[in-house]
C-alpha cells in the first residue's frame, strides 16, 4: 500500500540504481546519524534501538533474516532439527575470529546463550525458558535441546536479540563492569574504533572478516546530532549520506525524499514491524464494554491517519496480527471507517456520554497530531473524549498504574505471534507497574489456551489453525485498538548500494553496502 509519492520514489530508485554498474567496489566511508546517542554498545547487555543500529554491525548472531523473515546463515553455516522439533543442531562457520584475534568457537555460543543472556537479557530469556540444555559438540557444533517444541525458535537468533559475545573476555567477570564494555569486541564486519561522546562513533573495516571481499566500506561514522532540524540539514548539505529510520521528523521525509540523488526504502524493519495500538482499559468505564471498543474501531479513520500523518507510509492492519507477522488470518471482516455503525453500537450499549480520557504517546509532533485526529473521530460519533497530555515518565507511570481509558502505544512484533503478539493478550501477562505487558487487562481463558498451545505446537500447520481461531476471537473482542503498522523509512543517497538487505535494515546493513562514486 504505497502512495503515488512513494511509488514515484521507488520508481526513481529503481531506474537510478539500474543505471549503475552492478559490480560492487571497495572503498569509501559512510557518514550517517545515530539518534539518540546510545547508552553503550555492548549488544546483549543493552537492546535499545540506537545500540542495535550501531553495534549490529560489530556483533553478530547465529542467523540473520531476510526481509521476508527467512533465516539466513550468519555465524551458523547450517542448522537442523529432529522430527519432534526438540533438538536443534547448528553447524558453525570455521575460521571465524573475534576482533582481538581469538577464534570464535562453540564454547562462545554456549557461554553467550546459557550464561550471558540468561543473566542480562530479558528478551532472550523468554526464549531460553523453553530451552532444556545448550551443549557444544566439538568446536563447531552446538546443540540446543528444548523442553517442548517452540514455534518461533528459529526466529530468535537475530544479532540484536541473541548476540554472540566473547567468552574469553567475559567469563567469570562482572559483566556490567567489564573493562571491555567500552571497547566492544565482536565478530562482525566492522570493528569499534573510537567514540567521541556527543559527537561521533567511528567503526572501521574488519580486514579479517570471514566472508571474502566483505565489507566493501572502509568504515562508518555515526554522527550524534541532538536537534531534529539540524539532522535534516546535515543530510541536505551532504554531511551525512544515510538517514536511518527515526532520524528525521516525519514531516521532513517527503521533502528530503524529493532531493536529488535520494532514495528511500520502507524495507528493513520487518523483524521489528512496529505496531501502533490504542490501549483500551478492559477493566472499567465504558471501555469495559466490547461494543464500545468496537465502536472506537469503526469511528477511527485510520486511512486518513496513515495518509496525512504518516505521509502514506505504513499499513492499516486488519486485526490483531500485523502483515509481517506469521499466521495472519486474512479472512476477517475489516473494521472500516463507519461512523454510523459506531453510533449504532454506542446506542445499543446505552452509552451515556461518560467522559473517556485519551492519553497520547509523548513521542513528538506526529503522535500529538494523531491523538487530535482520533479525539475528533471519537467526538464525531458522540464519545465524550478528553485528551490529557503528559511526558514520557508520566505516560509510563499512568499505563503501569492502569490509570487511563484510552492510550496510544506501539510495540514490536518480532516476526512471530509467540514473541511479539501474545504478550498483549495473555492474562498471565497482566502485571501492574509495566507499560509493556497486557496493559489493557484483557482476560479470556480460551485465548490464553490457544496462544499457549500455539507457541509450543509443532509443526507450523498445527500452529496455524490455533492462531486462526485466536484471531477470530480477538477480532470480535477488540481488546485493544489496532491503529497502524508503522512504516519506518530509511533515506539514503542513491549511490549507496545494497544498504538494506535484511529484515533489520541498517542494523546489520552496512556489511553488504558499497559506494558507487
Amino acid at each position: 500500500m504505497k502512495t503515488p509519492l512513494a511509488l514515484a520514489i521507488a520508481a526513481t530508485a529503481f531506474t537510478l540504481s539500474g543505471a549503475h554498474a552492478d559490480e560492487p567496489r571497495h572503498g569509501g566511508t559512510i557518514d550517517t546519524i545515530i539518534q539518540p546517542e546510545p547508552p553503550g554498545l555492548v549488544l546483549g547487555m543493552i537492546q535499545n534501538d540506537p545500540t542495535r543500529k550501531v553495534a549490529g554491525n560489530i556483533y553478530e548472531g547465529l542467523l540473520s533474516y531476510s526481509t521476508d523473515l527467512e533465516p539466513r546463515p550468519q555465524l551458523a553455516e547450517s542448522w537442523d532439527v529432529d522430527d519432534d522439533g526438540l533438538v536443534w543442531t547448528f553447524q558453525l562457520r570455521e575460521g571465524v575470529t573475534w576482533h582481538d584475534g581469538e577464534p570464535f568457537t562453540a564454547e562462545d555460543v554456549v557461554f553467550s546463550a546459557d550464561v550471558f543472556h540468561r543473566e542480562l537479557n530479558p528478551s532472550a530469556r523468554a526464549v531460553l525458558d523453553h530451552v532444556e540444555s545448550i551443549e557444544a559438540d566439538g568446536d563447531h557444533t552446538v546443540v540446543f535441546t528444548l523442553k517442548q517444541p517452540f514455534g518461533p525458535f528459529l526466529l530468535s537468533f537475530e544479532a540484536g536479540t541473541f548476540t554472540m559475545v566473547p567468552k574469553h573476555l567475559y567469563e567469570g567477570t562482572d559483566f556490567r563492569d567489564n573493562e571491555h564494555n567500552s571497547h566492544p569486541i565482536g565478530t562482525g564486519p566492522f570493528k569499534f574504533e573510537n567514540w567521541d561522546r556527543g559527537t561521533v562513533i567511528e567503526l572501521v573495516r574488519n580486514d579479517d572478516y570471514y566472508v571474502d571481499d566483505l565489507p566493501y566500506l572502509d568504515g562508518i561514522n555515526w554522527h550524534v546530532i541532538p536537534d531534529g532540524a539540524s539532522r535534516a540539514v546535515a543530510y541536505e548539505n551532504g554531511t551525512v549520506d544515510v538517514l536511518p529510520n527515526g532520524t528525521v521528523e516525519n514531516f521532513d521525509i517527503p521533502r528530503l525524499a524529493e532531493l536529488d540523488n535520494t532514495c528511500m526504502t520502507e524495507e528493513g524493519h520487518e523483524y521489528f514491524s512496529p505496531f501502533a495500538m490504542l490501549w483500551m482499559n478492559n477493566r472499567e468505564g465504558p471501555t469495559e464494554d466490547k461494543r464500545f471498543r468496537q465502536a472506537v474501531m469503526y469511528a477511527m479513520d485510520r486511512e486518513f491517519a496513515r495518509d496525512v500523518l504518516w505521509n502514506g507510509l505504513g499499513n492499516v492492519p486488519l486485526s490483531s496480527f500485523g502483515s509481517n507477522a506469521r499466521f495472519q488470518h486474512d479472512g476477517l471482516e475489516p473494521y472500516d471507517h463507519d461512523p454510523d455503525r459506531a453510533r449504532e453500537l454506542l446506542d445499543e450499549m446505552g452509552y451515556d456520554g461518560e467522559e473517556v480520557r485519551l492519553l497520547p504517546l509523548p513521542y513528538g509532533e506526529t503522535w500529538t497530531r494523531w491523538a487530535e485526529a482520533v479525539q475528533q473521530n471519537l467526538r464525531e460519533v458522540g464519545i465524550n473524549v478528553r485528551t490529557q497530555s503528559t511526558d514520557v515518565g508520566g505516560w509510563n507511570q499512568r499505563l503501569g498504574d492502569w490509570d487511563y481509558d484510552l492510550a496510544f502505544t506501539f510495540l514490536y512484533q518480532y516476526g512471530d505471534p509467540a514473541l511479539g503478539i501474545s504478550r498483549t493478550y495473555l492474562s498471565s501477562n497482566i502485571e501492574r507497574g509495566s507499560p509493556w505487558n497486557n496493559v489493557g487487562g484483557y482476560e479470556n481463558e480460551r485465548v490464553d489456551e490457544l496462544f499457549n498451545e500455539a507457541a509450543t505446537a509443532f509443526p507450523d500447520e498445527e500452529r496455524e489453525s490455533l492462531y486462526r481461531e485466536v484471531q477470530e476471537i480477538l477480532h470480535e473482542d477488540v481488546p485493544v485498538g489496532w491503529l497502524m503498522e508503522l512504516g519506518f523509512p530509511t533515506l539514503y543517497r542513491c549511490d549507496v548500494n545494497d544498504l538494506v538487505t535484511s529484515g533489520v535494515g541498517v542494523n546489520d546493513g552496512f556489511k553488504d553496502a558499497w559506494l558507487d562514486r
Partner: protein, 278 residues
C-alpha cells in the same frame, strides 16, 4: 473633558480599542460563524489561503479550517487573559494593600514573600507549574496568575504607602472608621487608575504566556488556542507559512491593541501626566 474624550485624544489608543473590539467580536461570533468544532478535519490538508471558498485562510496539517481555529482561538486567548488577570489581581491587590497600609513587620513579611516569586523567572515558573498540575485551562490560568501577581502587589503597596498618611485618611481614622473600611472605601478607590492600566497590560502578557506555553506543547490539548496553532505549525513552517503566520498576526495585534488601550487609559485616568507628556 469627558473620560472618553481624553482617551480618544490618544490616536493610538483609539486604534487599539477598535482592534480589540474587533477581536472581541470575533470571539463572540465564532460559534455562530463556525458552529462546527475547529478540530474537525473538513478539507484536504495544507490548502493554501484563498484557494477554496469557505477557507479564506486555508487548512492546516490535518485539513482543519484555519479561520475557524483563529476565531475560536480568540475566545480562548481573551478568556485566559481576562480570567488569569482577575485571579492575579485577587491575589496581588489585597497583599499589596495590607503590606502598604500596615507597614512594619507585616510589610516586611509580605514583601519578602513577593520577592520570593519575583526572583524566579516568570516563564520558567509557569512551565513548572503547568507541568506539575497537568495542562488544562484551569492549571494554565492558575499558573499565569501565580507568576503575574507580584507586580500588582508592589504597585498597590506603593500607592498605599503614599496615600495612607493623607489628610482624608487621617480624618477617616479620626471619625472612627475601621481599618478595613479605610482600606476598601477610602484608599483603594484612589489607587484604581494605575491598577486598571496595569491590568490591561497584564491581559496582554497573559495572552503571550498562554501562547508560549501552548507553543511548547503545554497547552490544554482540548482547546484550540493561537499558541497551539503556531506550535503545531512550526514543524511545517517551510511547507505552509500561513499556518503560523495568521495566528502569529492575531497574537501580535491583540497584544499591541491591549498595550495601546492601556496607554490610552493611563492618559485618560491621569490627565495631568498626559498633558505634561505631550
Amino acid at each position: 473633558m469627558s473620560f472618553f474624550a481624553r482617551f480618544a485624544q490618544n490616536r493610538g489608543a483609539l486604534i487599539g480599542l477598535i482592534i480589540l473590539l474587533t477581536i472581541i467580536a470575533m470571539a463572540i461570533l465564532a460559534p455562530l460563524l463556525f458552529p462546527e468544532s475547529p478540530w474537525r478535519m473538513v478539507q484536504r490538508p495544507f490548502l493554501p489561503p484563498m484557494e477554496v471558498d469557505g477557507f479564506p485562510l486555508g487548512t492546516d496539517t490535518m485539513g482543519r479550517n484555519v479561520a475557524a481555529g483563529l476565531m475560536h482561538g480568540a475566545w480562548v486567548s481573551l478568556l485566559i487573559g481576562l480570567v488569569s488577570t482577575t485571579v492575579a489581581l485577587a491575589i496581588g491587590v489585597p497583599l499589596g494593600a495590607i503590606a502598604g497600609y500596615y507597614g512594619g513587620l507585616i510589610d516586611d513579611a509580605l514583601m519578602r514573600f513577593t520577592e520570593f516569586f519575583q526572583t524566579i523567572p516568570n516563564f520558567a515558573l509557569a512551565i513548572v507549574l503547568v507541568a506539575i498540575m497537568q495542562p488544562s485551562i484551569t492549571s494554565i490560568v492558575l499558573a499565569i496568575a501565580i507568576v503575574s501577581w507580584p507586580p500588582v502587589a508592589r504597585l498597590v503597596r506603593a500607592e498605599f504607602l503614599s496615600l495612607r498618611n493623607r489628610e482624608y485618611v487621617e480624618a477617616a481614622r479620626l471619625v472612627g472608621q475601621s481599618n478595613t473600611t479605610i482600606i476598601l472605601r477610602q484608599i483603594l478607590p484612589n489607587t484604581l487608575s494605575p491598577i486598571i492600566v496595569l491590568a490591561s497590560l497584564m491581559v496582554a502578557t497573559a495572552i503571550l504566556l498562554e501562547s508560549a506555553l501552548s507553543f511548547l506543547g503545554l497547552g490544554d490539548p482540548n482547546v484550540m488556542s493561537w499558541g497551539y496553532m503556531i506550535g503545531a505549525a512550526r514543524t511545517v513552517i517551510r511547507q505552509a507559512w500561513w499556518l503560523s503566520f495568521f495566528p502569529g498576526v492575531a497574537i501580535l495585534l491583540t497584544v499591541l491593541a491591549l498595550n495601546l488601550v492601556g496607554e490610552g487609559l493611563d492618559d485618560a485616568l491621569n490627565p495631568k501626566l498626559a498633558r505634561e507628556r505631550s
